[in-house]
C-alpha cells in the first residue's frame, strides 16, 4: 500500500475483498437491467420521433405540417411526367389529369391513405375520449364515494371490490366483443360513437374507481368528523368537506384513464371505428345522428396503415407521422398526469 493511500484509509473503512467486488458486480447487473428497460423505451420513442418528425414538422414557417394535421386522408399517386417524378394526392392528381390528359398513359403507382392528413382521425379520437371519460368519471366517482364514504365492510362490498378487481383484468378485446354484442347488435346502435363511448367507459371504470378511492382516502378523517360533529348530514359533509379536497386528486389520477382510453384500439375496432369516412363527425343532418355515426380514430388508423398497406418510402411518411402524432397526444396526457401527481403528493400534507 502506498503511503498516501494509507493516510486516506482509516481503520473502519470497508476493505475491497473479492466478495465485495462480486457484490458490486451484481449491483451493476441490477442497474443494467433498469437502464436497459429505459433504453428500450427510449429507442422506440426516438425512432418514431426521428422518422415521424419529417412528416409532422417542417423547416419553414409555420414549422408544423398544417396539411397533415388538417386534411383528410387521400390516396397518393406517384408517376413520371416529362422525366420528372411527381407525387400528388388524389385531389391534385385529378386536377392535374384534367389539365394534362397525356398523364393517363404514364405508369402510375398509387398508395391508399398515403397523402393528405389525419384530421378526421384526430377529431374522432378526441370525441371518443371526451365522451367515454365523462361517462366513466361520473359512474366511477359516484361508485368510489359509495365505497369509501358509505359502505360498511361486508359480504356485499367485498363482492363489489372483487368485481372491480376482476373487471380490471378483462382483456380489452373482450370489452370489444361485449360492446359489439350488447350495444352494436342487441341495442341496434350499429357501429357508432355512442357504442364506443360506453365500451371504453366500462373498460376504464376500474381505473377511475380505484384512482378516485385513493384520493378520497387521502382526505383526513378529521375533516369528516368535524363536519359531522357540527350537525351536517353525511351528504353535506361529503359535498362540502370531502369532495373539494379530493377532486384535484381524482382528476389527476383519472388522466391516466384518459391515456388508456385514447390508446386502445381493440375495443373500438368493431364498436366505433371506421376505416375511412368522408364526412367529419359534426357534418350531420340531425343532431341525433351525431351519436349514431361511426368515426375514424387515430389508433385504428395506425393499425390500418401499418397492416393493410405495403411498407415503402411513400407510405412510411404517413405511418410514422400518424404514430408520432398519436404518441404525442397520449404522452402529453400521461406526462401531465404523472407530473401533476408528483406535485400533488408533495403539496398535500395535512
Amino acid at each position: 500500500m502506498s503511503p498516501s493511500a494509507a493516510i486516506l484509509r482509516h481503520e473502519f473503512q470497508t476493505q475491497p475483498t473479492a466478495a465485495r467486488r462480486r457484490e458490486k458486480g451484481i449491483f451493476l447487473l441490477f442497474r443494467a437491467a433498469t437502464y436497459f428497460i429505459l433504453l428500450c423505451g427510449g429507442l422506440i420513442l426516438g425512432t418514431i420521433v426521428y422518422k415521424g418528425a419529417g412528416t409532422v414538422f417542417q423547416l419553414r414557417p409555420p414549422f408544423l405540417n398544417v396539411t397533415f394535421l388538417t386534411a383528410a386522408p387521400e390516396s397518393l399517386h406517384v408517376f413520371e411526367y416529362q422525366g420528372r417524378k411527381m407525387e400528388l394526392g388524389d385531389h391534385d392528381y385529378r386536377a392535374f389529369e384534367a389539365q394534362h390528359p397525356e398523364v393517363k398513359q404514364a405508369k402510375a403507382a398509387s398508395y391508399v391513405y398515403s397523402a393528405g392528413g389525419i384530421f378526421p382521425c384526430i377529431a374522432g379520437t378526441v370525441l371518443l375520449v371526451i365522451g367515454s371519460i365523462s361517462i366513466a368519471l361520473t359512474l366511477g366517482v359516484f361508485a368510489a364515494i359509495y365505497l369509501n364514504e358509505y359502505a360498511r365492510d361486508g359480504r356485499f362490498i367485498r363482492f363489489v371490490r372483487l368485481a372491480i378487481l376482476n373487471l380490471a383484468g378483462v382483456p380489452s378485446i373482450v370489452f370489444g366483443l361485449f360492446g359489439f354484442g350488447m350495444f352494436v347488435i342487441f341495442f341496434g346502435w350499429n357501429v357508432s360513437l355512442i357504442a364506443g363511448w360506453f365500451t371504453l367507459a366500462f373498460m376504464v371504470l376500474p381505473v377511475v374507481i380505484t384512482a378516485s378511492e385513493e384520493s378520497l382516502k387521502a382526505v383526513p378523517k378529521g375533516f369528516r368528523e368535524g363536519s359531522l360533529a357540527l350537525g351536517a348530514t353525511r351528504w353535506q359533509t361529503i359535498r362540502k368537506n370531502v369532495l373539494p379536497y379530493a377532486l384535484p386528486g381524482i382528476l389527476t389520477s383519472s388522466i391516466l384513464g384518459i391515456a388508456r382510453v385514447a390508446g386502445e384500439t381493440a375495443p373500438i375496432m368493431f364498436t366505433a371505428a371506421y376505416v375511412v369516412r368522408d364526412k367529419l363527425p359534426w357534418e350531420v343532418q340531425h343532431a341525433m345522428d351525431f351519436f349514431f355515426q361511426g368515426v375514424m380514430a387515430l389508433p385504428y388508423h395506425i393499425y390500418v396503415v401499418s397492416s393493410k398497406i405495403p411498407q415503402n418510402e411513400y407510405t412510411e411518411r404517413v405511418q410514422y407521422g400518424t404514430a408520432l402524432i398519436f404518441l404525442l397526444i397520449v404522452a402529453l396526457i400521461a406526462a401531465s398526469s404523472i407530473i401533476l401527481r408528483y406535485r400533488l403528493r408533495d403539496r398535500h400534507k395535512w
Binding site: F30, I37, G169, V170, P171
Partner: protein, 530 residues
C-alpha cells in the same frame, strides 16, 4: 333544546321528504350504491353477452360435424390423409436432396456437377412421388362428389330457412312455392362407398409400387445423409404398414352412425385445426390459437420478469433518491405507450432488426437463429415484454416497499451485507407480491391484442415443438388476434361468428382466472407484522 317529539309533526320532519320510505340522505346513499353496483352489472353483462352470442356455437358445430359425416366428407378425408402422408414423405425426400446438394457444393463441386451426381436420386424421388398418382385421381373424384352432396344439403337447408321465414311472415302461398329437394344421403353416398373395391385394388398396387421403388433407393455419400435416407425408408415402411388400418376404417365407416354429442365440445377444445371459409370442411379447434397465445406470453414473461424484477429491486434498494425520481416516472411513461404503436414499431423496425441480428454468423449458436420469418413469436414476445414490464415493475416495487424496515435492520444488525439482505430477506419476504405481480403481467400480456395481431405472423398452426427452442422463430396466431382479425368479416349469427365469441369467452375466463389467483396469492401470503 326542545325535544323533537314535542314539536308538531310537520315541523319535526322539515325537509324530510320521503320517497319509498327513504329520506333525502338515504336516496343519495342508494344512488351512490347503485353506481358501485355497476361494476358487478358490467361483469355480469359481459359474461351474459359472451354466452348469449357464443352459446349457439356448440349446436351449430354439432350440425357441422354431422354433415361432415353424412355427406361422406369424413370418408374421403381418410383417403386424403393417406395421400397427404405420402406428400409429406415426398417432401422429406426433396429436403434430403437440398441437403445433399448443399454438401456437394461445399465439396467444391459446381452446381452442374452436383445436379449430375444427384441424377440417380432424382430418378428415385420422381418414381416415388409418381406412385401416388392412381390414388390421387380417385381422391379428387371423390372430393368432388362429396362436396357436391354437401352443397346440395346446404341448398336444402337454405330453402328450408327461406320457407320458414316466409311462413313466419304469413306468406303461406309463397312458402308453398319454395321447392325443397330433400337429400337422400344413402343414394347419394352410394357412388362414393361403391369405390371401395376399386380402392382396394388401387391400394394394393400402390403398396407394391412403393415397395418396388423403395428397393431401388440409391446410396448417399455421407453417413449423415445415409442415416436420413434410412430413416425415410423406415417411415415409408410404417406408412405402408398403416394401409390395412385405413381399409378397415373405410369398411367400417357408416354415415348413419350418429356423431357423439360431446364431440361438438371436444372438437373445439382439443381440435388441432382452425380452418374457416374453406371449400371442403371448416374446423374450429382452439388449440393452435391457445398454443400461440401461450408461447408468445411465455417468451414475453421470460424476457420481462428478470428485467422488471431486477429493476424493481434496484430502484427500491440501491438507487439514490434522484435516480428513483427519474426512473419511476420513466417506466410509468413506458406503460402509456399505446400497444398499436408498439405493434407498428414491430412491423416497421423490430422485425427486420431482429432478423438481421439472427443472421449474424457468430450468433448462430442461439437456437432458431438464423430465421427468415420477419414476424414471429420472438418479435411479438419482445414487444409484449415491454408491455408487461411496467406492470410487473410497479407491483413488484410496491411489494418490496411493503417489507417492514425491521426486517432489513435486523438483517444488517446481524452483520449481513446489503446483497445478502436483499437476496435472503427482502425478496423472500415479498415473494408473494412479486409472484402476483408476474401473474398480473401475464394477464396483461395474454389479453394484449394489437401487438400480436401485427407482429406474431398470423399463421394458424400449432407451432412445431419438435424444433426445440427454435420454436420461437415460428409465426403463430393468437386468441386475441383471431378475434380482432376475423370479427369484421364474419356473417352475424353464423357458426364462425359464434366461434369467435366462444374464443372470447375462453379468453375472458382465462384472464379473470389469472387475475383472481394473483389476488388470492397476495391476500393469502401477505406478511403481517404485529
Amino acid at each position: 333544546m326542545i325535544p323533537a317529539r314535542s314539536l308538531p309533526h310537520f315541523l319535526a320532519n322539515k325537509s324530510r321528504i320521503r320517497v319509498f320510505g327513504l329520506d333525502f340522505d338515504d336516496c343519495i346513499r342508494v344512488f351512490f350504491g347503485g353506481n358501485a353496483v355497476i361494476s358487478i352489472i358490467v361483469l355480469a353483462l359481459i359474461t351474459y353477452f359472451l354466452f348469449r352470442e357464443g352459446a349457439g356455437f356448440f349446436g351449430q358445430n354439432y350440425r357441422n360435424l354431422a354433415v361432415y359425416r353424412q355427406a361422406g366428407l369424413e370418408y374421403v378425408d381418410y383417403l386424403r390423409a393417406q395421400q397427404d402422408d405420402h406428400t409429406a414423405l415426398t417432401r422429406y425426400l426433396s429436403d434430403l436432396r437440398v441437403r445433399q446438394f448443399a454438401s456437394d457444393l461445399r465439396q467444391k463441386m459446381s452446381p452442374a456437377e452436383a445436379n449430375a451426381a444427384l441424377a440417380g436420386f432424382d430418378d428415385f424421388a420422381g418414381k416415388f412421388s409418381d406412385t401416388v398418382e392412381p390414388l390421387r385421381t380417385l381422391v379428387s373424384d371423390l372430393t368432388e362428389q362429396a362436396s357436391a352432396i354437401k352443397t346440395k344439403f346446404t341448398v336444402m337447408e337454405d330453402k328450408q330457412e327461406e320457407r320458414r321465414q316466409l311462413l313466419a311472415e304469413g306468406k303461406s302461398a309463397e312458402a308453398a312455392k319454395v321447392v325443397i329437394q330433400p337429400v337422400d344421403f344413402a343414394a347419394e353416398l352410394k357412388p362414393i362407398t361403391g369405390t371401395l373395391p376399386a380402392y382396394r385394388e388401387t391400394n394394393s398396387e400402390f403398396a407394391r409400387q412403393v415397395e418396388r421403388v423403395l428397393a431401388q433407393a440409391p446410396a448417399l455419400a455421407t453417413a449423415d445423409l445415409q442415416a436420413r435416407l434410412d430413416r425415410f425408408k423406415q417411415l415409408t415402411r410404417a406408412y405402408l404398414a398403416g394401409f390395412p388400418a385405413i381399409v378397415a376404417r373405410l369398411e367400417a365407416w357408416d354415415y348413419t352412425k350418429p356423431v357423439p354429442r360431446r364431440q361438438a365440445f371436444t372438437s373445439f377444445l382439443f381440435g388441432r385445426e382452425w380452418l374457416t371459409a374453406s371449400f371442403w370442411q371448416d374446423w374450429y379447434g382452439i388449440l393452435p390459437l391457445l398454443a400461440g397465445s401461450i408461447m408468445v406470453s411465455l417468451v414475453a414473461l421470460l424476457l420481462s420478469v428478470p428485467l422488471a424484477v431486477g429493476a424493481a429491486v434496484y430502484v427500491n434498494q440501491f438507487a439514490t433518491r434522484a435516480e428513483q425520481r427519474f426512473i419511476k416516472p420513466c417506466i410509468e411513461f413506458i406503460s402509456a405507450f399505446p400497444s398499436v404503436v408498439l405493434g407498428f414499431f414491430g412491423i416497421a423496425v423490430l422485425g427486420q432488426a431482429l432478423r438481421s441480428v439472427s443472421q449474424v454468423s457468430w450468433l448462430s449458436w442461439i437456437p432458431g437463429f438464423p430465421y427468415s420469418e420477419r414476424l414471429n413469436i420472438l418479435t411479438a414476445g419482445c414487444l409484449l415484454a415491454l408491455i408487461a414490464i411496467p406492470t410487473i415493475f410497479t407491483l413488484a416495487e410496491d411489494a418490496l416497499n411493503n417489507v417492514p424496515r425491521a426486517f432489513t435492520e435486523a438483517s444488517f444488525a446481524l452483520g449481513a451485507t446489503r446483497l445478502q439482505t436483499v437476496v435472503r430477506i427482502i425478496v423472500p419476504a415479498s415473494l408473494s407480491g412479486i409472484i402476483s405481480a408476474v401473474l398480473l403481467g401475464l394477464g396483461r400480456v395474454i389479453g394484449e391484442t394489437m401487438v400480436v395481431l401485427l407482429c406474431a405472423g398470423n399463421r394458424i398452426a400449432i407451432p412445431d415443438f419438435t424444433a426445440g427452442l427454435a420454436v420461437i422463430a415460428q409465426p403463430v396466431h393468437t386468441m386475441t388476434g383471431i378475434i380482432a382479425q376475423e370479427m369484421g368479416e364474419v356473417v352475424q349469427g353464423g357458426i364462425h361468428y359464434r366461434a369467435l365469441f366462444v374464443v372470447g369467452l375462453v379468453l375472458f375466463f382465462l384472464s379473470v382466472g389469472i387475475n383472481y389467483v394473483a389476488q388470492r396469492i397476495v391476500r393469502r401470503y401477505r406478511i403481517s407484522i404485529g
